[in-house]
Each structure stands twice: as structure tokens, then as C-alpha cells.
Subunit: 353 residues, 2 copies
């Protein structure tokens, strides 16, 4: 698998994980080569790779890298075990909010305990296979999710989106943008309004990039403009992704999402969250319990190395906010669409075959 | 009057208007010297000077400059008259939304028709005096407005503000920030949350600069963060300025203001607009009739010369939006506070001695 023909979020080649450095987009397409698991943790922390499903996949490959590191060092089975436990802990700490990270690591840890006696070589091969499965399943789930969501997109719709919940945030295709892609594949006309999404401009840099790449009509706006578009009746529906969904349907997503949901309710515009089941965390009763990451002031204070504000000003920069389930018309998943999400419906979704 | 000790938005010296180039703040303090009225129109259009009251004052001085240009060219009275008519037209066109521009030019035109027979020298001196009056009155009105507004600011308040409605947007002291200053002068503790205000970052560049300059505790946030702060109960009141207020109390202000007002209503947070009477346009029945300026895509696409988005993406960038009167708890003016503003109350305000 190489990145020559298609822009892949990441790919594995010869015991190395190549990750598209999304901080350089849309200007440069460069892949970071990670041969040690702390490099993967660093790439997640510094947001070379971002998007809840994508960082889950990256963490899974990070475990495979750790295993191949252990192999190269000639670790025996107990040494390998200790080494992998350390790797899982470090990868887990790289970012706190997106649950897919914990979900992927837990899945690999489960595989490890189910296969505790295996020799190091087979452990490494097994972890790699499991990571590749997570990657492939994410892509397949996004396609299913896209089909489920496309039914909610009327022909001729203007769709507002925030941040990047696209191919670049996932194993490919995307969640919110997967729904857009599926609607377009069904022959529907759509127009996407893209919130630029300060501070890191994932909308301007990544979503705009994906829309141009796919020839989907789109317009970039500042985050300040979204409410005014709704007031003018220019938005038919809002589609966003999610970083963690609590058992009651509360959604943590990129900062600014909550305000969009309130504005959507005020203007009676349907507000949809598109996310795979790996983003739903049934262990948390509500959004109140979701840890919200605070990012460095520098991300607000500088843009392209240039200072935007005077020296000495305080900054508050949470990366995410929580949107209460009551403001969400439906959560779109690979297993179906959950209207007016609540704990009962989300539990049922997991029980579904 | 010089800029040596105090940071003045603009000052007049020896037939020249020196305007603080606000595009360079907070990094460089430089004054643009305007000796021809088209330079003043250009400075308004390109936002070297911005803020509704400040551009009204600048336009008034632009007329004085035009008169001194005419004098230097040895124009007789009819030539001067024609020259000033042309100048007023060009200055009027420089920006469409802020009514203070039209208000100031109308006041000078009225002075001109009241003093139609005067020789050119006296016309120039008279226009300059009128411009200086507008400047001084704006400052005085902001101080009155500040005192009126400070009564609405409880001790210990956290105040959210958008864009820059400060000294730099006016003849000095400021409207929304004038209220903050007056509250601080009364000994109240306040904390100001500053929306950075994309695309031109007047909050990050100018409001943060003013708060640091005055030692008023403040925190800079992205525009995306405002709603989340309200949800957390961290905002006690919202204070913004205005670019034009219609007769029914609808307010045009910096893009993003409307969303804040909707969010404020949702969270039951008082939303106040601080503006002098020169911002109220009784000729417009409602905000529907306010012309909203669209700015160049480059302001969204570039930051400090660096491209933020991929080439070829469409951009929509209205400079302002309109907040319906129903979302505004009160308009704070130099003549008093108008709760639940409507046409009757605003007419009464003008009639007040």
C-alpha cells in the first residue's frame, strides 16, 4: 500500500508507519515515517494526525511498531509483554478526549491477553494484523455510515460542517464528509459551507482540501459567519463528527460545535452527528464526565509563525466542547441512524447484530 | 495635539491628518499621514482606521483636508464648492455599513449649506473646527455612555466582548470598552473575555492591546469558544458596539455578533449594545434595510501573507450581521440606557434634551 495514487491518512510499509503530516496541508503533502512508538504518540499529541477515528488507527499501528521494536531488540516474551504495556500507556496519554484512541488500545490489549503465550514474532504479526483490521473496518464503517446518512440529505441541500470529519480524520471516506460523499455518489446536488475552525483551521486547511479534491461545491466561511448564514435561511442541515459520545448521547466535538447546535435549534435546522460506534463510550453516563483537552496558547496566538496578539495576553483554548443530546436531531452510525439519542437507544444500537 | 504620550486613533497637525494604522497593531505603532482626501477614503476602505465612530471622525477630517487642498490650489468659492461635493461623495462610498460615516458627512454638508457664501479660507477653517468638534463630542459621549453602562456591570463580572469597540474604534475611551473602563474606574473588578474576531482579528490585535495597555484583566479566546464559556456559566454579560442601529433597534455589528446574541438568549445572559446616538439611523425602519458590506476573500484566505486554505476554494465574507432588537437587553447611549429597544423608545431618546 503506497500513497502514490490516493491521499492516505496513513499507511504501513516495511515495519514503518507513514503518516500524512496534516499540519502541512494544504500546502505540502509529506509523510512522517514513524519507526518507534513514541514517534506515533508525538504525532498524535502534536496533531500531525488528528480526527478521532484516525488517531485510534494510528495508536493501533503504534502498538504494532512497539512490537517490531521489541523484536529488533531481541526481547523474549516477558520483555515484550512489559514493553507493550509501556507502549499502550504512553500512546493512551497522547490525547485525552477522543475515545477511539482508548477503544483501539483496549482492543489490542484484549488481543494481547487472548494471545498471551505467543512468541514475540507472532505477537508482532498479530498486532499488525489487528491494526490493519481496525483501519479497514473504519473505512468500511464510514461507507455504511455514509449510506445511512445520505438518506437524510435532500437533493439541493446546503450543508454546514465544522472542523474536518473527512477522509483525513478517519481511515478514509470520512464520517460527516462521508455522508456528503455518499449523497453526491447518489447523484444529489449539495453545497458545503465550511467553518474554517479556529484555532487550527482544520476546515480551511483539510475540509476545503478534500472538497476541492473531490470536486464537491463548497464555500469557506469564518466561524463567525455560520449563524448569519442560518439566519438568512442558507443552511438546510448541519453535519459534524464526534470525538467522544457519552452513553446518554451527549457529544464532545471540536470547540464551536456546541454553539452551532444551539444556533441550529434556534433556527429549526436539523443538527446531525456522524460517528462510528468506536466513538461511543458507554462507560460515561453523560458528557459532563468527558475530559476536555486544553491546548497550548500558542495555537491561538500564532498563525504561520506570526504573532496575532500582543505579548502578555492570557489565552483559554479548550480543543472541544460538549453538545447535549437534546440539541442533536440524530446520530448517524454504521449500524443505523439514532434519532433523539438517549442511553436506551445507544445501548440497543450496540446490541444490534 | 501629538501622539507622543497617548495612543490616539488620529490627530490633526499642520493641514495633515495622522491616522494610527490599525492594521499594523499590536506589532507596530505607525501613523499614516493623509494630506489628500482620497488618502483618507483609502484608509477607511482598507481599514487602516475602523470602528463606526472612528471612521465618522476620519471622514469629517477628510472634508477638512479636501478644503485645505482646494485652498492650496487657489480655488475660488464655486470651485471649492464643487471640489467639496466631490470629496463628500468619495468619502461616503468608502465603506457602506457604518452610519456614522454618513452622519458626519451630512453634518459637514449641513454646515456648508448654512455657510454657503464664505470665502475658501473660512470654509476650510470652519470645516476643520466642525471635524474637531465631532471628534471631541465623540470622546465626551463615550465617557457619558461609559458611566451609563457601568451601572449595568456588577462587581466581579466576567464580560464577553467581540471585535474592538474600544478607544481605537472611536475618538477615544470606547463604547463597549468605554463601559468596561468606566466600571473599572468605579473600582469594580471585572474580567474581559475577548473574542479574537476573525477574519481581521480586531479582538486579538486591538482589544487585547487596549486591555493590556490599561491593565484590565482579560483572556483571549477563539470565536468558537464563546458559546462553551456561556454554557459553563463563565460569562455574566455581553457587551458589543454597533456599526448601525435601525429605528426599531435592530443592530448591525461585526460578523459573529448575531450568533452571540442568540447564544446569550439561550443562556439567559444579558446582551448589551453600547453605541452613541450617531450610530442610530432613524431613516431605516429595520435591520433588513442595512447594507451589509462583503469583504475580499483574501482577508479569510491569508493571515500575515500566508495562505491558510487551498487554492480555488470559494469564500463568503460578510463584514457584519444584523441582530434583531428582540435579542438585545438594552442599548447603552450617552443619553441613557434603552431597555428592550424599539422605534418609540429610540425616537424618544433623540427628542430628549
Amino acid at each position: 500500500m503506497t500513497a502514490e495514487n490516493e491521499l492516505l491518512t496513513m499507511y504501513w510499509d516495511n515495519e514503518c508507519l507513514y503518516m500524512l503530516d496534516q499540519r502541512l496541508l494544504p500546502h505540502r503533502v509529506e509523510y512522517l515515517a514513524c519507526r518507534k512508538y513514541p514517534e506515533v504518540a508525538g504525532a498524535i499529541r502534536d496533531m500531525a494526525v488528528r480526527g478521532a477515528p484516525a488517531i485510534g488507527i494510528a495508536a493501533a499501528f503504534g502498538m504494532a511498531i512497539a512490537a517490531y521494536e521489541g523484536l529488533a531488540k531481541g526481547y523474549d516474551q516477558p520483555q515484550m509483554q512489559a514493553h507493550l504495556t509501556g507502549a499502550a500507556k504512553e500512546l493512551f496519554k497522547s490525547r485525552p478526549t477522543a475515545v477511539n484512541l482508548a477503544w483501539a488500545l483496549e482492543r489490542l490489549n484484549r488481543w494481547l491477553s487472548d494471545n498471551a503465550g505467543l512468541p514475540p514474532q507472532e505477537t508482532a504479526a498479530g498486532l499488525l494484523l489487528e491494526a490493519e483490521k481496525i483501519y479497514a473496518e473504519d473505512l468500511a464503517n464510514n461507507r455504511l455510515l455514509g449510506i445511512n446518512g445520505a438518506a437524510l440529505v435532500p437533493d439541493g441541500s446546503c450543508i454546514l460542517t465544522h472542523c474536518n470529519a473527512g477522509a483525513l480524520a478517519t481511515g478514509g471516506y470520512g464520517t460527516a464528509l462521508g455522508v456528503v460523499r455518499a449523497a453526491v455518489e447518489e447523484g444529489k446536488d449539495v453545497h458545503v459551507y465550511i467553518d474554517e475552525t479556529r484555532p487550527l483551521l482544520q476546515g480551511a486547511r483539510l475540509t476545503a482540501f478534500e472538497m476541492i479534491h473531490e470536486n464537491i461545491p463548497a464555500t469557506l466561511i469564518t466561524d463567525n459567519c455560520a449563524g448569519y448564514l442560518m439566519k438568512q435561511g442558507k443552511i438546510d442541515l448541519i453535519l459534524v463528527g464526534a470525538d467522544r459520545i457519552a452513553a446518554n448521547g451527549d457529544v464532545a466535538n471540536k470547540i464551536g460545535t456546541y454553539a452551532l447546535a444551539v444556533m441550529a435549534a434556534y433556527h429549526a435546522i436539523p443538527f446531525y452527528v456522524a460517528a462510528p460506534l468506536s466513538t461511543i463510550d458507554l462507560t460515561l453516563p453523560s458528557g459532563e464526565e468527558i475530559v476536555i483537552e486544553e491546548r497550548s496558547p500558542e495555537e491561538v496566538l500564532y498563525c504561520g509563525g506570526q504573532a496575532l496578539a500582543p505579548e502578555g495576553i492570557n489565552v483559554y483554548s479548550p480543543a472541544f466542547d460538549v453538545t447535549p443530546a437534546g440539541l442533536i436531531k440524530a446520530i448517524i452510525t454504521e449500524k443505523g441512524v439514532v434519532y433523539s439519542p438517549d442511553q436506551e437507544k445507544l445501548y440497543k444500537l450496540f446490541a444490534k447484530g
